[in-house]
Amino acid sequence: MSLDVTTIRKDFPVLSERINDKPLVYLDSANTSQKPRVVIDALAEFMATQNAPINRSAYHLAAQATERFESTRSKIAAFINAPRAHEIIFTKNATESLNLAILSWGRANLNSGDVVVLTHMEHHANIVPWHMLVAERGIVLRWIPLTSDFQLDLTDLDSILSGAKVLSFTSMSNVLGTINPVERLCAAAHKVGALAIVDACQSVPHQPTDVQAWGADLIAFSSHKMCGPSGVGILWGREDLLNAMPPFLGGGNMIADVRVDGFTTAPLPNKFEAGTPAIAEVIALGTAVDYLTGLGMHEVRRHEIELSSYVLGMLKGRFGDDITIHGPSNPEVRGATFSFAFRGIHPHDLSQVLDQHNVCVRAGHHCAKPLMRLIGANATARASFYLYNTTEEADALADALESASDIF
């Protein structure tokens, strides 16, 4: 059974918006996804009729809010096949999740000269916190290079990993679309006794996730890229690992006891959830997970493979060498995210022209400047597709591209 995209599109109010009487062609879901009506309603409904604090108060309204909040934790655990719900930590975004994982674990475990391996296709969120540890503790970074088809070059993996304490990498590149072999990488990390951290931002919204099959130690992703509200990130970690990590932010909810001379931490997950969380947003994220589960993540993935095949063929067919797509040519090893260069037109100008046709693409470095330097561009234009996008929208992108040449 494949996705019924016509019906799905009706679930997303913004997709029916018209600007200057033309339909919106939203191709920026790798940045942030649109939200289905059920998620918006869950959020508004909670705020209007059930709003209450969690964990702290005993009255009915608060107890109900706590239960609903915790039910999202269980839903997320099931969604990524995490063994225990209390291994799910809610943060504000994937960036905080990664900082928590990297800085909390790193400050407790890494010392001068310790080697951390990253890849050349990481997002700044999986680079800058490591740079901070380079400055703080003198750790050393190594980088896995790329092949000419924009995949990780694993030829020398063993020697790159040798002696490493951590391998931290993205499951799917937000620039190239490349899907990395997560299981293989986690296994290789574990073989040398290194921790495996996965930036799962770009894959969790687009394909089934099984952290146990991956064999990962810590993974991070964001609600806002998977049909959920903004303001929520997720960190999953192995229970023993999270238990051994020092707390990251201090305050209410994360303590067992506080005295004038010290504090003790609460058990998981509270230990890592200081302060009042994004209560309504987490609850609405639960609705987003239900929505995605209802569609079926295998079907979402299949839809995006079909879209990728179409987009790759169509763009090459129409524009030949006038377009350069920075990413794998095989739809099976990539998501439907396409960075490209077109007829020498600067991506910023390109996206401005596309916007006149209501075609929304991102132009820039996509928070991956080291990768951009490798590609040899300051910026690319990026069109990223999701479960609600169609081949007609890909055509609209191509039509709009055509018109850009008229100006420049």
Binding site: S57, A58, H60, T66, E67, I255, D257, A266, N270
Partner: protein, 148 residues
């Protein structure tokens, strides 16, 4: 919505007003301390284990009617039992409270919880489950301390 009568059974209020085994034990008895981080309740369990038998048990600290009466009933239920039996009772109680983590090992159906069954109504007030189980989790810590 569950009514207060489900929560505040007469036997619970009786144990709250007239706690059994309240007090402390001197070493060589061991002790453990438990906190309910949400409401601030604190409890301390004292345990005298000799030849594998819980020969004496007491509790101190302060808390709401549920945490205090649950601790009081608990001490009555475990005093004089051997450690294996005590652990089985804890499992059975936590299972009734829907918070037993080990769901693989079967629960000993032959055990009866007696008065403790009055606490079943707490399950309808999920926030209070932590009150009811505070003494029990602390007892487990004390048992571990006795073993060490």
């Amino acid at each position: 919505m569950a009514g207060l009568e489900d929560l505040y059974r007469e036997i619970i209020l009786d144990h709250y007003r007239t706690p059994r085994n309240r007090g402390e034990l001197e070493p060589p008895a061991v002790s453990a301390e438990g906190h309910n981080p949400l409401c601030g309740d604190e409890i301390r369990i004292f345990l005298d284990v000799r030849d594998g038998i819980v020969t004496d048990v007491k509790f101190s600290g302060s808390g709401c009617s549920i945490s205090q009466s649950s601790a009081s009933m608990m001490t009555s239920a475990v005093k004089g039992k051997d450690v294996a039996q005590v652990r089985a009772i804890v499992r059975k109680f936590k299972n009734m409270m829907t918070v037993e983590e080990d769901t693989e090992t079967p629960i000993d159906e032959s055990l009866t919880l007696g008065d403790l069954e009055a606490l079943q109504g707490v399950v309808k007030f999920p926030v209070r489950i932590k009150c009811a189980t505070l003494g029990w989790n602390t007892l487990l810590d004390a048992l571990d301390a006795a073993k060490a």
